[in-house]
């Protein structure tokens, strides 16, 4: 199979196999080894997309990751937006379309797998071109562990797109030999289709391996589609090559305008002729091999336009032999053609002045403005750059001791230089980690004819007779962002002096390609406009990721249920079986409420509340944080961390406590039981358990290491079941026959070890509802057994299970605060109306000194109060603001505080709320207002305790 634009005898595609694909609705064929871009060019499709801002036709500028234009969206076999046609490997059945800048995310879920691998090595080499291969080989021969990553489907880098010789044979023969040797070395890993996209702190390099994308629908489901490699290497060599730089001139964005080196790649790697009649516009020697190789493959070279007056003799001779005319000291000033370039406008260029223009017909305009080393990763590694005026580009200067560049990435553009550089970089890297071994000599290359230096040219001035549009209005700098020279000049005209600011003003360099073809050019144009040295101006900073990476790849296996651990209690299966709805509390799944058939949440919660206040109810409280405190100084530690006295607690008793930060603000609360003379067990808020343990360890380890105390988390060891309500004593008596449940024998805030349903249990008289209540603790293994035994024992009393919502209503009716809901880190125990929990006797504890700070003694601090809406059916939203007047004034509205908790109460037969209100305690009895849906809802400020203030219910 052949097409007019396939060059016989060139390229590495498999022409015996045809791949069918569809682009913009038309069916084409290509071959294995093609990219979408090469297959389109082979089919003479040049217009692949339209510019995002002006809708101008756009073609294919490059052959790799630097492509700014040819963005496509894959429609089938699986939708994926924003890929460059130049890096998209062709497969059978591909359906794609060109994108005008913005893609569309798939509506259906992605069923592919993504995963992550870790790699550790002595030397990481990024880039498998001549320098990278030479480095990897030299390192491997010393026995070092080497990882070599390369973005292309096969190693070789620039050698795939050239006709150069190594050791007298085609360069790819040497590549094959190197790969064979590396493959035989068990300490070397070569990863193709793998792009290193970020260099992070501590030298962690992340790379994206595309494992099955190139297989299309044939990709096996059990193989991850993409994999993130997390590579930790002692030394790193970035052999990332260089990107060719275009030159800005009028209408430099038309399809058919291509980088010269990319055209060479299309010929040599893909066997594709990107046109039939070409003009080559260059500022340096590198475009000549492209012109000659294309000419030899059958492309008519209409002219080589070289801005330099002096062209090396051997290029002149080689061109003359092929009948190619060189126009030295000339530039391309513009182009004709809408859908495709039809003519290049060529003029003499002397001392910045354009001479008379002449049109040269062509369907391909190749451009080379020199080469920019690919320094993104080196720069991310905090390597500094310096401007090299000889090549008009930024090259690596100083890097961290474990990072080097080699080859074109370091500004070395000859093959022999790259090979030597690779070997040297490997040797330096290994010597830095004290590893030595046999020296590897770089292979031989053909002697180089003398060259002439690059003439640095950022842009060609617009011809004088061009229309009256602003200077550079159709000279495109960033093709993807449709940003022009005129945009850059507007930025500098507006007073911007930094390339970072120009970048943000013009959006140049912010597209998927990260300004690979536009960044340095922008620095050059800005420097010219400001009359400063580009070396002083510098370039924009590089940040990861260097290439677009999908969130799916970054997430890897950590999605769905594996995204974050889900913690469930030992009784969880029972809750599921009995229809509980769940609430996320930290990582825990907690039963929220247990609706009966046809019941709304409101009805269910009112029913559960009624059961707890009038009969008996129980909940699963196992998620409470539990910390075991042991050691002779346990009491001393707790005295210093809780606001109240804990060391005086007697074995068998329970005390409620609050912990504050050094700033005096409440950070957690819970109960403390004294298990033994030298052992306490304390509980924390569910979501705060880890934080409280860390807090206690912090003080113990850093301030009071002399205290003999050990702390252990025992949260998951215990199942905790609050059994609540006036009939709870009756139920407990049935399951705990050895326990004297009489109030005198087992008073409030005491605990006893006994047997519950035949299981060793610790029962505490603790109430978080104000009702007679027991907290039954059993080892987690027996949780379900005891729970079910309680269900059975309670059935005669109408035992009801309740969830967190009911727990919240019950505790709020009693004004028991939830730290983190009713507080926000600016609330003291006194603000919560809990001065009683703050010891006056203790000489000091964490937070005490702050209580006497002037700020903490202000009378207008926000204090916890109750709010009763005048309309007892109105449920205030939590977080609602509170104001003083019934008219909502113009902003800024003076706000007195906010609603922290708000519920419907069965016991009060109305709605109620808790709130933090400025001078709240003094305002009890006042009417305040809560703006709600445009009206101010009147509320009465009350004492926070709205139910059973005298505590008559706690003993049953």
């Amino acid at each position: 199979m052949n097409t007019p634009f396939r060059a016989p005898g060139h390229g590495r595609v498999d022409r015996d196999t045809a791949l069918s694909f569809t682009f913009d609705g038309t069916a084409y064929t290509g071959h294995p080894g093609d990219t979408l871009a090469s297959a389109l060019l082979a089919n003479s499709v040049h217009h692949v997309a339209d510019g995002i801002k002006y809708g101008r036709p756009r073609g294919i500028l490059a052959a790799g990751a630097e492509e700014p234009n040819a963005l496509v969206q894959i429609e089938a076999p699986f939708p994926e937006p924003m890929l460059t046609a130049t890096t998209l490997e062709l497969y059978d059945g591909l359906v794609a379309r060109g994108l005008s800048g913005q893609g569309k995310l798939a509506a259906e879920p992605d069923t592919a797998r993504y995963d992550t691998m870790h790699a550790h090595c002595d030397l990481l080499v990024v880039g498998a071109g001549p320098a990278g291969l030479a480095a990897a080989l030299a390192a491997a021969r010393t026995g070092a562990r080497v990882v070599l990553v390369d973005e292309l489907p096969e190693p070789g880098g620039s050698l795939l797109g050239s006709q150069e010789l190594i050791d007298g044979a085609p360069a790819l023969t040497w590549v094959d030999e190197v790969l064979t040797e590396l493959a035989d070395n068990p300490d070397v890993q070569v990863l193709s289709r793998t792009t290193a996209f970020g260099h992070y702190d501590d030298g962690l390099v992340l790379a994206l391996e595309k494992r099955t994308d190139h297989l299309g629908a044939a990709a096996p489901a059990h193989v991850s589609r993409q994999r993130i490699w997390r590579i930790r290497s002692r030394q790193i060599v970035y052999a990332t090559g260089a990107y060719e730089r275009p030159v800005a001139f009028d209408n430099n964005d038309r399809p058919g305008i291509m980088l010269a080196g990319s055209a060479r790649t299309y010929l040599n790697r893909f066997g594709v002729l990107p046109g039939s009649r070409a003009v080559v516009f260059t500022t340096n020697d590198s475009a000549y091999p492209a012109a000659l190789e294309l000419a030899d493959a059958g492309v008519r070279i209409a002219a080589v336009v070289d801005v330099r007056e002096e062209v090396p003799e051997h290029w002149r001779t080689a061109c003359a032999e092929r009948g190619i005319g060189i126009r030295a000291g000339h530039v391309v000033t513009g182009t004709s053609g809408i859908e495709h370039v039809t003519r290049a406008h060529v003029a003499p260029f002397d001392q910045g002045n354009l001479g008379e223009r002449q049109g040269v017909d062509c369907d391909l305009l190749l451009v080379s403005g020199g080469w920019n080393p690919a320094v993104a990763l080196f720069s991310q590694a905090r390597g500094t750059l310096r401007y090299d005026a000889g090549i008009g580009a930024f090259v690596p200067a100083d890097g961290p001791g474990n990072v080097r560049t080699a080859g074109a990435a370091g500004g070395t553009f000859t093959l022999s230089g790259c090979l030597t550089d690779g070997v040297d970089a490997a040797r330096q890297a290994l010597s830095a980690i004290g590893r030595t071994g046999p020296e590897t000599a770089p292979p031989a290359t053909a002697p180089l004819p003398g060259g002439a230096p690059t003439r640095v040219l950022w842009r060609v001035p617009s011809p004088q007779d061009a229309d009256d549009s602003p200077e550079g209005a159709v000279q495109f700098v960033d093709l993807q962002r449709d940003a022009t020279v005129s945009d850059v000049l507007r930025a500098t005209g507006a007073g911007l002096r930094s390339v970072e600011h120009v970048k943000r003003y013009t959006t140049i360099g912010t597209a998927h390609d990260q300004g690979r073809t536009s960044g340095v050019m922008t620095s050059g144009i800005v420097a010219e406009a400001l009359g400063v040295d580009v070396a002083d101006l510098g370039t924009t900073r590089f940040r990861p990721p260097a290439v677009p990476v999908s969130f799916a790849a970054l997430a890897g296996r950590n999605r769905g249920e594996l995204f974050d651990p889900v913690r469930v209690t030992a009784i969880h299966p029972w809750h599921v079986e009995h229809g509980a709805l769940f609430e996320n509390v930290g990582q825990w799944k907690r039963p929220w409420y247990y609706p009966r058939a046809g019941e709304t949440m409101e009805e269910a919660v009112l029913r559960e509340c009624r059961a707890a206040r009038t009969g008996v109810a129980m909940m699963d409280g196992s998620t409470l944080g539990k910390i075991n405190v042991q050691g002779p100084d346990s009491g001393v530690l707790l005295d210093r961390l809780y606001t109240n006295l804990m060391s005086t607690l007697k074995v068998g008793r329970v005390r409620y406590g609050v912990m504050c930060g050094a700033d005096g603000m409440a950070i957690d609360d819970g109960t403390v039981i004294r298990v033994a003379e030298q052992e306490f067990l304390l509980t924390t808020t569910t979501g705060n358990a880890a934080k409280v343990l860390e807090w206690m360890e912090e003080w113990l380890q850093t301030e009071w290491p002399d205290l003999r105390v050990h702390l252990t988390s025992v949260t998951e060891h215990w199942v905790t079941i609050p059994l609540v309500g006036p009939r709870s004593r009756d139920v407990l008596a049935l399951v705990a026959p050895d326990l004297d449940v009489d109030n005198d024998a087992f008073p409030f805030m005491s605990w006893q070890d006994t047997s519950v349903a035949g299981v060793a249990a610790r029962v505490c008289r603790i109430s978080f509802s104000g009702e007679l209540a027991y907290e039954i603790n059993v080892p987690a293994w027996y949780g379900i057994t005891v729970w079910e035994a309680l269900c059975a024992a309670g059935s005669g009393f109408g035992l009801t299970t309740y969830g967190t919502e009911t727990m919240h209503v019950l505790r709020a009716e009693k004004a028991y605060p939830i730290i983190g809901q009713d507080t926000d880190g600016t609330v003291t125990p006194q603000d919560l109306g809990m001065s009683w929990v703050v010891s006056k006797k203790k000489p000091d504890f964490v937070g005490k000194r702050s209580f006497s700070r002037a700020e903490n003694r202000r009378e207008d601090r926000k204090q916890l109060v109750g709010l009763l809406p005048a309309d007892e059916r109105v449920l205030l939203p939590e977080g609602a603001q509170i104001i003083a007047t019934s008219d909502i004034p113009e902003p800024p509205v003076p706000m007195l505080g906010h609603v922290t908790s708000s519920y419907r109460s069965d016991a009060l037969r109305r709605t109620f709320a808790l709130a933090l209100v400025r001078s709240g305690t003094r305002r009890i009895g006042e009417t305040l207002y809560v703006p709600l849906d445009g009206r101010a809802v009147p509320v009465t400020v009350t004492d926070p305790v709205l139910f059973d203030k005298e505590g008559a219910r706690r003993d049953g």
């Binding site: 930790r232 860390e694 912090e698």
Partner: protein, 102 residues
């Protein structure tokens, strides 16, 4: 993702650790001998240098031990780790490169 060397467990990824702010800030001997401003200095004010900074870290997802580290706030490089209570090692400037710090 940085590696931090826990003095007890060795090199571990930074997500295993929690940051504890500036090191070598002792709880005042007698808080009640301080006026409000002096006390506020202890509670609220910390240094924020550019360069080496002695900090407290805790290996939360590991051995749960607190320790001190000197970290360069510009490069994030951890220049030294040492046990809580030990003297701060004399490090005044950033050693360049990873190998130098190991």
């Amino acid at each position: 993702m940085q590696l931090i060397t826990c003095p007890w467990c060795g090199d571990r990824e930074e997500i295993e650790f929690h940051y504890g702010g500036q090191a070598h800030i002792a709880y005042p001997e007698d808080p009640y001998a301080l006026d409000d401003e002096q006390w506020a200095q202890y509670v609220f004010f910390r240094d924020n240098p550019k360069g080496p900074f002695a900090e407290r870290w805790v290996h939360s997802a590991g051995c749960r031990r607190w320790f001190n580290a000197v970290r360069d706030t510009v490069t994030h490089e951890v220049l030294a780790v040492y046990q809580a209570g030990a003297e701060r090692p004399a490090i005044t400037s950033t050693a360049k490169g990873q190998e130098a710090s190991r």
